[in-house]
Structures are given as structure tokens and as C-alpha cells.
């Protein structure tokens, strides 16, 4: 996951390791073999977590606030990439050819998504995620759970009858209250913080080669 808790844990762990190494190498003190072994295991674990987190942040792609990682779950992946994958997606997700997943907890300007504001996601004409199976944009609250709402709509997708604008572009209204006149394109948000998931199954070539850019979530109010 890519949230504040893991960032804090990573920095905290890293700081402990640095402190420990400085103390170890620059200030001699009495030691026992038991110390060496126990501390070696603990510091080794902390370093494994920190390096996997750092590597995950290097390998992850962030475009318009959306975070994803290419190459997850592919046989032949190296040890570090596999560990990084386990950090960003807490489960056995698909290989890129089968599905790509993006997530964000912030808008295109980097501000935290919250139901206190109204947002629009604008897909230009012909700019919906290219795929040979389906795409979807799913709402989760701050704990990545479904958000109760009066129209029982938890995601918008290629199956939800989105109404395009006259110029062929598609706008998704992401907000807590129903957008007057645009109910068909409403993805209900909670009153508080939320996150979004974009899934594209059997993604098109322009996604796999990194050419396709997921549009940002834009705050309008």
C-alpha cells in the first residue's frame, strides 16, 4: 500500500537502522555474540522492509496522481521486484496483460480526496481506457471499504450506462451529493476521505506500453 502509515513505518524503520549503524560503527561498546545475532536478525528485517518499500516507490509509476506498477506477478521477476510487488498490492494480482490496477487517494494536484469537495474525472473523446474485457472506477472509503449511498452504486464502468457529452468526451462526477442533471455519471463519494481504484482488464497496447495516461481527478468545488 501507498499510504501515510507505511511511509511513516518506512522512515521510522530507516531512522532506527541508521541510528543503530552509527552507534555500532563509531562508538565501541561491550557486546556479546547473542547481541550480534538477535540484533542482526532484527536490523536485517527492518532493512528488508525499508529496501522493499524504497524499491516499490522507485518501480511504481505515478501519473496525474494515479499510482500503478508494471510487471507485477510475471514469472522470472527478480527477488527485489517480487518483494516490492508484495508491498504495493497486498495479494496475488494479475499480470499486466490480464489486468492493470491504478489507485489514488489524491487529486491531480496532490490534495487528499475528500467528500467535502466535488470532483470530475474527464475522459476526452475516445479516451476511455482501451481494453478487450472491461474497465471500472471503484470507490472505497479511507479503509478501502464500500461506501453506502442512496442509489446503491459503488463503481462506474463500461457497463453502467455513462452518458457522453456532445463532443464525445465522458465526465464522471465524484461527489457526496447527487450532481443535478448528471445523475447517470455520478460516482457517490462518502462525506470523508476516500480512495479510488481504476481497473482495466485485458488492457490495450497503449496501456501496456505506458502511452495511455489516466486522466487526473480534478477538484471543481
Amino acid at each position: 500500500m501507498f499510504n501515510r502509515t507505511t511511509t511513516f513505518l518506512m522512515v521510522f524503520n530507516g531512522a532506527i537502522c541508521v541510528f543503530f549503524f552509527i552507534r555500532l560503527f563509531f562508538f565501541s561498546h561491550s557486546r556479546t555474540v547473542l547481541n550480534d545475532v538477535v540484533q542482526g536478525i532484527l536490523i536485517g528485517f527492518a532493512l528488508a522492509f525499508v529496501t522493499a518499500q524504497i524499491f516499490m516507490r522507485i518501480k511504481a509509476t505515478k501519473v496525474n496522481g494515479w499510482i500503478t506498477m508494471f510487471g507485477c506477478g510475471v514469472p522470472g521477476n527478480g527477488m527485489l521486484l517480487r518483494a516490492a510487488h508484495a508491498q504495493i498490492f497486498l495479494g496475488p494480482i494479475n499480470v499486466p496483460q490480464e489486468a492493470m490496477y491504478w489507485t489514488t487517494s489524491g487529486d491531480g494536484a496532490g490534495r487528499t480526496l475528500s467528500g467535502l469537495h466535488d470532483y470530475i474525472m474527464h475522459f476526452p473523446a475516445g479516451g476511455l481506457p482501451p481494453n478487450n474485457a472491461f474497465w471500472s472506477l471503484t470507490m472505497g472509503n479511507a479503509k478501502n471499504r464500500f461506501v453506502a449511498n442512496p442509489i446503491n452504486r459503488y463503481s462506474v464502468s463500461d457497463r453502467s450506462g455513462l452518458v457522453p457529452n456532445a463532443d464525445g468526451s465522458v465526465e464522471i462526477y465524484i461527489q457526496n451529493a447527487a450532481p443535478a442533471g448528471h445523475e447517470s455519471n455520478w460516482l457517490p463519494a462518502p462525506s470523508g476521505r476516500f480512495i479510488l481504484w481504476l481497473r482495466v482488464y485485458m488492457p490495450g497496447a497503449s496501456i501496456l506500453d505506458g502511452e495511455y495516461k489516466v486522466p487526473p481527478i480534478v477538484e471543481v468545488k
Binding site: D36, I41, P75, N77, M79, A86, E98, F146
Partner: protein, 200 residues
């Protein structure tokens, strides 16, 4: 114990630390997948543990009402937000011989069955629309080193590991489509190769 130089302590610490770093990094995916193994084989998803070499289907009621939670067992199946696909999940042990995965005719509908090597969290094979099409079929899944005869005409999937995590997903078009998907999903089944030979 004899007195040791500080440098010798540093060497021991450094060696243990490097080994621990390597082991934790290498086995991180395995630790993550162990959670899935435990959820499937020990906790289950509300209806008791899922036997090995069996697929467990997410009940359609949980998909229909996203706020319904299983009364007992692991909440792994209802963790995260997914409104697209109904899921089926299972854990294979191929030491006793290969398994046959049967998939029904999905008539063009998107579906996939993912085969994950739990030691590496990598997907070594897929059955589904992208890789094998949406027609009905049987697929043989064999463990490493298995040298038996493959039934004629049956595609073989060679697993690098005797343990395999299987995740199946079938696309749901709408609420009214859910029971159709459920019916299709029920036909995604596993059976041991040896049984099918004895039956013939």
C-alpha cells in the same frame, strides 16, 4: 567465553544482518501468500475451511449486498472493493497427482483462472478469455517432475510448485446477470486426474 575483538562482533552482526535481509526479502511474497493459504485451508470464508484441491465460490449474496460480511472465517474475500467479477478461490496440492480444471462455455464473456506460485507470488499460467478463449474445456495441472500420460487432446499446465493458488474471476454485467454468472461459476470445477481414469 574468550574475549572477542569488537571487529569480530561486527563481522558476526554483519553476516547475520545480511543473511536476514536476504531471507526476509526473498521470502516476503511467501509470507504474504501464507495469509491466503491460512485463509483458505484453515479459516474458510464463512462456511468452514475449504478442502485442498477444491474451489470455493464467493456466494452471490455477498456480491449483491456489498455490506454483508461472512459471519465467521476469513474476511480476505470481502477485503477491498470489487464490483466487477465474481470470484472463486482454491489451494492445490499436486503431490498426489495432477488435477483437471473444467471450465464451461462462457460464450464470449470475460473470465480468467489465474495460477499463482505461492513461493514467488507470480502467475505462471492462465485459463480464460485472453489465453484459451471462452469455450468449454478441460486443462491438466501437473506438479514439477510429473511424468504421467496426459489425456489425449488435453492442454497441460506444468506448475513449478506442488502448491498452487487458484483465483477465478467471471465478469458480471449487471445485478440481474448475477445469477447467470453464479451458474457459470459453479461449473468451474477441479477433479483429480486419477479419478477420471478409473471412471473410464
Amino acid at each position: 567465553m574468550t574475549h572477542m575483538e569488537y571487529n569480530e562482533h561486527l563481522l558476526i552482526f554483519g553476516g547475520v544482518c545480511a543473511a536476514a535481509w536476504f531471507l526476509f526479502t526473498y521470502f516476503w511474497p511467501l509470507m504474504l501468500l501464507y495469509v491466503y493459504k491460512r485463509a483458505i485451508l484453515v479459516k474458510g470464508f464463512g462456511e468452514g475451511p475449504i478442502p485442498i484441491n477444491t474451489l470455493y465460490m464467493q456466494p452471490q449474496t455477498f456480491f449483491a449486498d456489498p455490506f454483508l460480511m461472512p459471519a465467521s472465517g476469513s474476511n480476505l474475500a470481502t477485503t477491498g472493493v470489487n464490483r466487477d467479477t465474481l470470484m472463486t478461490i482454491g489451494w492445490l496440492d499436486l503431490r498426489q497427482g495432477p488435477q483437471i480444471l473444467h471450465v464451461p462455455d462462457m460464450a464470449g464473456r470475460y473470465y480468467s483462472v489465474q495460477f499463482t506460485d505461492p513461493s514467488k507470488n507470480t502467475n505462471f499460467a492462465y485459463v480464460g478469455k485472453r489465453t484459451t478463449g471462452t469455450g468449454a474445456g478441460d486443462h491438466l495441472i501437473s506438479g514439477p517432475g510429473w511424468k504421467g500420460a496426459v489425456p489425449q487432446g488435453m492442454p497441460q499446465i506444468s506448475s513449478p510448485n506442488n502448491s498452487v493458488l487458484i483465483i477465478g474471476r467471471v465478469l458480471v454485467y449487471s445485478d440481474s446477470d448475477l445469477s447467470i454468472v453464479y451458474g457459470l461459476m459453479k461449473q468451474i470445477q477441479l477433479k483429480p486426474l486419477n479419478d477420471s481414469i478409473q471412471q473410464k
